[in-house]
C-alpha cells in the first residue's frame, strides 16, 4: 500500500470529524506526560477523573454561570438587533449609534465590573450585564450588514405597493439578516460565557468564575485544566449547536462578515473627524447624565469633569498622565506584537490549509477550542506555559486574534472566483501562482474585516491578562487603582482604553475601506 492509499484507508475508518479531536487529546496527554512537575499540565485522563469525582460541584457551577450567560446572551443579542434596526431606520443617526456602541463595547471589564456591582448590589446583575455587554457589538455589526445586504429589487417590490421602511424591515430585511445574525450568535456564545465568569469576580457564591479563582489560588492544576476543558466544551457545543440550528432553519449557510460598517468615517477625512467629534460629545453627555440619574457617590463615580481635572487641569495632572502613559506603553508593547502575530498566524495557517486541505481536519478543532476557552481560564494555563512577561500577554492576544482571522481568511481564500482560477489553470499556473495572483487578493477583504473586529477582542485580552497574571500595564493599573480607591486613575484609564480601542478600530476600518475599494469593489459601499 502506498502512503497515500494508507492515509485514504485511515480516513475511511476514522471519520474526518473525529480525527482532529482525537489528535488533540493525544497531543494533550503527551504534553501532560512530557512536562515535568505536577503543577503545570493535567492531562485529559486526570481531568476526566477530577470531573468524575466532583461532578456535582461542576454541574452546579456550570448551571449558575450558564444561566447568567444565557440571560445576558439573550438580552445582549436582542439589544444588538434593536440597535441595528434603529440604525437602519434612522440612517442619519447610524454613525452615532455605531460609534457609541463601539465605545461602550471597548470599556474594559476590569473597570465595569465594580461599577456594576455597586449599581446592582448583590445578585447576578453584573454577571448578566457583563455577558450582555460582551456580545452585543459582535452581533450588532453583522446584523446591520445583513439588514442592508438585500437586493434592491426586493425593496423596490415593497415600495411598488406603496409601503415604506417598516414594511421593508419586517417583510424583507429581518429575514434576509438571519444568516448574519447566526454568524453573530456563534461568536457571541463563548463571549457571553466569559462575561458571566468575569461578572462572578465582582462577588458571587458559586459559578465557573468562582471555581477558576479557587483553582488559581489553590494551586489546583487539575481543577484549572478541568475548568478550561468544561468551558471550552460548553463554548464549542454552543457554537456548534447554533450552527446546527441554523443549517436546519435556514436555506443558506451563515456568511462570513466582510462589509465594513460605514461608521463615522465617510469618504472624506473631515467628515470622519466630525463623526468622531459627535460621538465624543454625545458619549460625554450620556456619561454625565447617567451618573446624575444613577445618583452614584462621587467618591467612586467620576464624571467627565473629574477625569479632565485628573488628566489635564487638576493638581498632579502631569504625574497622572505620566503614570497612565507608562502603563499604556507597556500595554501597547504586548498588544501590538500579539495582535500582529495573531493576524499573521491566522492568515498563514489559512494559506497552509488551503494548499493542503487534508490538514483542516486537525487544525480546525484546535483552532475552535483555542478560541472557545474563556480567556480567564486560559490565562493561568498560558502563563504556566509561556511565562508572565510581555511574551505571555502577547501570546494570549495572539490566540484571541488568531481564530477569527483564520476563519475569515479561509473563507476569503475560497472566494477566489472559479473562472479566474480556471484561467490560471489554462496557463498552466500551479497552486502557488494561483494563490499569489488569485486567492490572496480575494482573501484581503476578509483579512481586514477580521483585523477590524479583532481590535476590541485584543484589547480585552491584554487588559484581562495584565490584570490577572502579569501585573503590568493598563489592566493592572485599573485593578490596583480600584483596590486603592484611586477612582480618578481607574476612570481615566478606562476612558483611555476605550477611546484608543475605538480609534484603532476606526483606523483599521479606514484601511479596510481602501482595500475593499480595490479588491472587492462590490462590497465597498
Amino acid at each position: 500500500m502506498t502512503p497515500t492509499a494508507a492515509a485514504g484507508a485511515m480516513r475511511m475508518r476514522v471519520p474526518r470529524l473525529a480525527l482532529g479531536p482525537i489528535m488533540v487529546l493525544v497531543a494533550w496527554q503527551g504534553l501532560a506526560v512530557a512536562v515535568p512537575g505536577d503543577f503545570l499540565v493535567a492531562g485529559p485522563w486526570e481531568v476526566a477523573g477530577h470531573l468524575w469525582q466532583n461532578a456535582g460541584l461542576y454541574f452546579r457551577a456550570l448551571q449558575t454561570t450558564l444561566a447568567a450567560a444565557a440571560t445576558g446572551f439573550l438580552i445582549g443579542n436582542l439589544l444588538a438587533v434593536a440597535l441595528a434596526a434603529l440604525a437602519l431606520l434612522l440612517p442619519r443617526a447610524e454613525a452615532l449609534i455605531a460609534g457609541l456602541a463601539l465605545l461602550v463595547f471597548c470599556l474594559p471589564l476590569v473597570a465595569t465590573g465594580p461599577i456594576l456591582r455597586v449599581l446592582y448590589g448583590p445578585g447576578t446583575g453584573p454577571q448578566v450585564t457583563l455577558a450582555a455587554l460582551a456580545v452585543y457589538y459582535t452581533t450588532f455589526v453583522p446584523v446591520l450588514v445583513g439588514l442592508r445586504a438585500t437586493p434592491a429589487a426586493w425593496l423596490d417590490l415593497v415600495r411598488s405597493y406603496g409601503r415604506g421602511r417598516f414594511a421593508m424591515l419586517w417583510h424583507i430585511r429581518a429575514r434576509a439578516a438571519l444568516p448574519y445574525l447566526v454568524a453573530g450568535l456563534q461568536i457571541a456564545a463563548p463571549a457571553a460565557f466569559l462575561g458571566a465568569m468575569v461578572g462572578e469576580f465582582t462577588g458571587a457564591e458559586r459559578g465557573m468564575g468562582i471555581l477558576t479563582l479557587q483553582a488559581m489560588r489553590g494551586l489546583d492544576t487539575e481543577a484549572t485544566w478541568t475548568l478550561a476543558t468544561v468551558a471550552a466544551a460548553v463554548s464549542i457545543a454552543a457554537h456548534g449547536g447554533i450552527g446546527w440550528l441554523a443549517r436546519h432553519a435556514l436555506s443558506e449557510p451563515p456568511p462570513v462578515l466582510l462589509a465594513p460598517p460605514q461608521t463615522g468615517s465617510g469618504p472624506g477625512l473631515w467628515s470622519g473627524l466630525r463623526g468622531i467629534l459627535v460621538v465624543g460629545v454625545v458619549a460625554i453627555a450620556l456619561w454625565w447624565a447617567l451618573l446624575q440619574i444613577a445618583g452614584l457617590n462621587p467618591f467612586f463615580a467620576k464624571g467627565p469633569g473629574d477625569v479632565w481635572a485628573f488628566l489635564v487641569s487638576g493638581p498632579g495632572a502631569d504625574e497622572n498622565r505620566a503614570t497612565l502613559l507608562a502603563a499604556l506603553a507597556e500595554t501597547t508593547g504586548a498588544l501590538g506584537p500579539g495582535y500582529f502575530a495573531g493576524m499573521a498566524m491566522g492568515a498563514a495557517l489559512a494559506v497552509v490549509v488551503t494548499l493542503a486541505p487534508a490538514l483542516s481536519a486537525v487544525v480546525m478543532p484546535v483552532a475552535i477550542a483555542l478560541r472557545a476557552v474563556p480567556i480567564v481560564t486560559t490565562v493561568p494555563l498560558l502563563v504556566l506555559v509561556v511565562g508572565r512577561g510581555p511574551v505571555g500577554s502577547a501570546a494570549l492576544v495572539a490566540v484571541m486574534v488568531f481564530f477569527p482571522t483564520l476563519v475569515a481568511c479561509l473563507y476569503g481564500l475560497q472566494r477566489a472566483p472559479g473562472q479566474v482560477l480556471d484561467v490560471m489553470a489554462s496557463y498552466g499556473a500551479g497552486r502557488g501562482k494561483a494563490l499569489l495572483y488569485a486567492r490572496l487578493p480575494a482573501m484581503l477583504p476578509a483579512f481586514f474585516a477580521a483585523a477590524r473586529m479583532a481590535v476590541p477582542a485584543a484589547v480585552l485580552a491584554v487588559t484581562v491578562v495584565e490584570w490577572l497574571a502579569t501585573g503590568r500595564g493598563l489592566g493592572a493599573l485599573m485593578a490596583v487603582s480600584a483596590s486603592l480607591s484611586d477612582y480618578g486613575t481607574l476612570w481615566s484609564a478606562t476612558v483611555l482604553t476605550a477611546v484608543l480601542a475605538a480609534l484603532v478600530y476606526g483606523i483599521v476600518a479606514r484601511i479596510e475601506r481602501r482595500v475593499l475599494a480595490v479588491f472587492a469593489s462590490e462590497q465597498a459601499q
Binding site: A153, D156, S160, Y161, G162, R163, H171, L250, S251
Partner: protein, 264 residues
Amino acid sequence: MPADPRIAPDIVCKGLAKRFGDVVAVDPLDVTFRGGQTTALVGPSGCGKSTLLRLVAGLERPDAGSIRIGDDTPDAVRAQAGLAIAFQDPSLLPWRTARGNVALAQRLAGQRVDAAAIDAMLDLVGLDGFFDARPGALSGGMRQRAAIARCLITQPRLLLLDEPFGAVDELTRRKLSEDLPPIWQARGTTTLLVTHSVTEAVLLSQRVLVFSPRPARIVADIAIDLPDPRPGQETTPAFIDLAEQVSAALIGGEGPSPRRLAAQ
C-alpha cells in the same frame, strides 16, 4: 379594445426629466400611454426606458415634469396598491414558497390573503404542483411565472414589466410569452412592457415606442393593429412588416446607418 378610464386610466407624462449625477437618463419627455393598452418600450441598452418605467412606478422622483395616472400621482396609485412591477430578475424571496411569495404581495398591498385566489392564480400561470416549492427548487421560467402571479394577484390597474422574460432561454421565453400575456390582456390592465426583443414587442403590444440612445427620446411610435391571438402570426407579412418598421426605427435611432443613407 375599449377601456374603462376608471380601471384603466391613461398615463400622461409631461416634461419628464431625470438625471443621475452627470448622466441624463430622461430628457424632457412628453408621452401618453393609453389606458387598457399594452405599450412596448424598445430601445438600446441604457437608453433610459427602465428609468421611465421606474418613474411611472414612483420608485424614482423626476427632476422635472409630472406624471398623472388618471387623476392620481404615481405615489397615490402605489399607496392604493394600484400597480405591480416585475423585473428581469424574478426577485422572489428565497425563504418563501411560491404560495408565500404571492401571498406577500397581498399582504404588502394591504389586502386579505386569499389562499384560494392564490392557488387559482398559481394554477393559471402554470405552476400547478409547485405551490409549496421554494424559489431555489424552481427553474428560471417557473420563477418568472411565480413573479407574474405575484404581480397579478393584487388586481393592479397598471402593470409595469421590465424585461420580464429577459433572463430565460429562448425556448422558455417563447413559452412564457404565449402563456402569460393573455392573462393580463384579458383583464384589460394598462401595461408598460420594456423589452429588447422586437418580436416580443410586436407580439405582445398594441403600440410600440422606439427610444433613441440616452437621453431617451421617442424616435418612432408604431401602432400594432394585428388581430388577436397573435402567436402563430410571426411569419405573416403584416407581422414581419411591423417588425421591420420597429427594427428600422431602432437602427435609425442609433444614428445614420449605411442602409438609411442608401435609402435617401
